[in-house]
Symmetry: C2
Subunit: 455 residues, 2 copies
């Protein structure tokens, strides 16, 4: 099938229907009315804005999350904005139905209305990047810039977003590190269409800096500082935010996610197919057969899930997994890979190792023999010999991997995420076995099918 034919089959599946569009518009109208009434009843000088993909009309069919921003005047003290903002949010939410308080830089209200998630977020009513005071303020500017520049390319954005979702490269959350919706919009605006973005996957990596706001001319110093800082941090892309020269829109994009996009774009252009947009049939298989095929072993540490949000929990689990990798490597096991995850109750770290028993005697390298430390080493060790100028000695150690692991944890010799440390101490260690509900996860990990660029 040629590319156009594929896109023509995809579009109807991701573009909202007229009914859906009418529903969304009605929803926003009503929300706006409720917001304005509540603002007035509280006697506040606040403007309600819709931001996000609904407001920009770049949302995917069926994806109706609403972002309602409540913009306070710039001269409102931060403390007042927090308190009044939350009060106002509650006031609105109470008229919508159930709600809860969520926490980002400051607290906001997360409500549900007609089956749709509505985030009600207080912010400052900024006109330019120079006014920006809190992390969310920029959203209003983003919204405005996209609407002004999108030029009817809304469906192209939908294609790109759906493609990125299909290849598992969408979302700028720290545990995904993929493309944000705003980044997808900028790329479509910059390159003109979904296909052009794909065709430029290699070029944009080489060009490295994308500056749709023309900041390198308008605010050379500030923009250059951003470029230098982000180049130093070795980001795959530096997309200077068209509404703020201090910010790289792609700051959270990882090399892995860019790489996935890079190869999938290439594959799609060679062999276009609908599956790219919706994910192929998930590979499945037996993790036990994978262990047999590879001749490796799987250690799974399971423990009570700490009460942390995803943005915090996953990086901490990853840090801990890296800590185990380093510690096990130091102890003579080879770690072929690891992967973390969690369910409602439990968090877990899976580690693939080359074996489950090591030698019972390790060889310690000591200092040069003619030094003070050399004499110390000489005195402290029973059996001791020389290789070149260095002293060596034997050290008796536990052999079985689970013994080694529990010693490492007991002696605090595993660098681990702060919020996870105490839970790790009470972790259960499983060897070459996982509970039923982790079998698929284990298979995808061991087979590397989850990251397989050709899978």
């Amino acid at each position: 099938m040629d590319v156009e034919a594929v896109l023509q089959k995809v579009l109807p599946r991701i573009r909202p229907t007229d009914e859906e569009r009418a529903f969304v518009e009605g929803l926003m109208r009503k929300l706006k009315g409720i917001a304005e009434e509540t603002i007035e009843s509280l006697g506040l000088d606040v403007k309600p804005y819709f931001v996000g993909s609904l407001a920009k009309d770049t949302y995917l069919a069926g994806d109706h999350d609403v972002d309602l921003f409540l913009a306070f005047p710039l001269d409102t003290p931060l403390k007042e904005l927090r308190e009044r903002g939350l009060e106002l949010g509650r006031g609105i939410a109470e008229r919508l139905g159930s709600y809860e308080i969520a926490y980002a830089e400051h607290p906001y209200v997360r409500a549900r209305y007609k089956g749709v998630k509505v985030d009600i977020v207080p912010c400052y009513d900024v006109e330019s990047w120079r006014d920006v005071k809190t992390a969310v303020d920029r959203s209003i500017l983003h919204n405005r810039w996209v609407i002004e520049n999108l030029n009817g390319k809304n469906d192209e954005v939908r294609l790109l977003k759906r493609f990125l979702k299909g290849i598992n490269a969408y979302g700028s959350e720290i545990y995904i590190r993929g493309f944000s919706g705003y980044l997808a919009e900028i790329l479509v605006i910059k390159y003109g269409s979904f296909l052009e973005v794909l065709k430029n996957a290699d070029f944009m990596l080489r060009q490295k800096v994308i500056d749709p706001g023309n900041w390198l001319k308008r605010e050379h110093e500030i923009a250059m500082r951003t470029v230098r800082r982000e180049a130093e941090a070795d980001r795959p892309l530096i997309v200077i935010d068209p509404v703020d020269p201090r910010r790289n829109v792609a700051a959270n994009l990882s090399w892995e996610r860019y790489g996935v996009f890079y190869f999938r774009a290439h594959q799609f252009l060679e062999n276009p197919a609908e599956e790219f947009f919706f994910g192929g049939a998930k590979k499945s298989g037996s993790y036990l057969s994978e262990l047999r095929r590879k001749g490796t072993h799987l250690v799974t540490l399971m423990f009570q899930k700490p009460e942390l949000v995803d943005d915090v929990l996953l990086p901490q689990l990853e840090r801990t997994a890296r800590g185990f990798e380093k510690a096990l490597t130091r102890e003579g096991f080879r770690v072929l890979g690891w992967k973390v995850g969690y369910s409602k109750e439990k968090a877990f770290i899976m580690i693939e190792t080359d074996r489950i028993e090591r030698e019972r005697v390790l060889i310690k390298q000591g200092p040069e023999f003619f030094t003070e430390r050399g004499w110390d080493f000489y005195r402290k060790n029973e059996k001791i010999w020389l290789v070149g100028k260095r002293l060596y000695a034997e050290k008796k150690v536990s052999s079985f991997i689970l013994d080694v692991l529990s010693e490492l944890v007991e002696k605090n010799q595993v660098a681990s995420g702060k919020g996870v440390r105490d839970f790790i101490k009470r972790a259960e260690a499983l060897l070459d076995y996982v509970p039923k509900d982790l079998e698929e996860f284990a298979y995808l990990f061991l087979s590397r099918e989850d990251g397989n660029l050709k899978g």
Copy 2:
């Protein structure tokens, strides 16, 4: 027991008795007579000299090797020296008994006379280092210098030599890399006695340069060049040869052998005992128990012994062992140590490893994904994933160590000594088992008792 008492018990065991002395002197007299007669009968202008420990009266009781040097005039062409020297050597040897031709820089005759080994070596009759033309010429100068400077300390030299033998640090041969007899003599002359040499084990290492011939004054440039060259090569000691400022007498002394001397000297001064001079009872035990205790494995490669002299064979076996260590490490086995050796018929390399089976799948690190080589890697591999910017892929490999070894050898992926290479290809590989006559060797290796500084 105090130090003096120990030395008084050792001395009678290592000092030649009057009878022995008479025998040796008679022997040398007769040899000299035979040599002079043969020289005359051949009409040659050659002077016979005795060199070595017999001539210097620093030989140990029972150690009667004779070095008879035949010194040709300096203007003799090298070719003539070789031919005439060999002819003369044969002439003398025929009057002594059985003999054979041995090879060093030039051929010489090795005879037996009254149960004593007699090396008959042609050389130039040099008066100074400036005359030296072949490697052996210096011996006459060494002999003269020691006799002139020893000052009755002959028994001190005997103590030091016997001590170095007892702790296994004697001999400058390339496969020992210990102290030569000449070096022992210089140290006694320099520090005044056996005990003073031991007491200075640390000091001489720090002082580094020993210059008994005062060359740094007499021939500053040349001596400094020697010091710089040898310092560059990181020798433990730089002993400028009192008869030749271009030469470090300790050039062949290794850090290991110096280290053994260093610790044994310390131990002897703390707890003097006769055993230091004669070697303790050899440790013995079961190599199989060692393997069990350590949880390690022993691979022994046995092959026909190449026809090479020790000085060549052992370094080549060691190079080959290092080659196996590198190759096995690259393949994912840990090598805890190795040791080489040979008997009359067979040479062997023993390698201690952490395990005998590795995983059946290795993970290959590839290039960065956005490069030409990245695309090659992408095309060539079935399953492929990203970690950071790098591509990774799986590679199926043999798991069993003997399979891995034979593949390595077949594919010429083991750096090995030139004279050994072809033999290695036909090597037999033994796993966790050695023939009866290697059991002790295997035990000493696996237990590290052969190098144990506290053993």
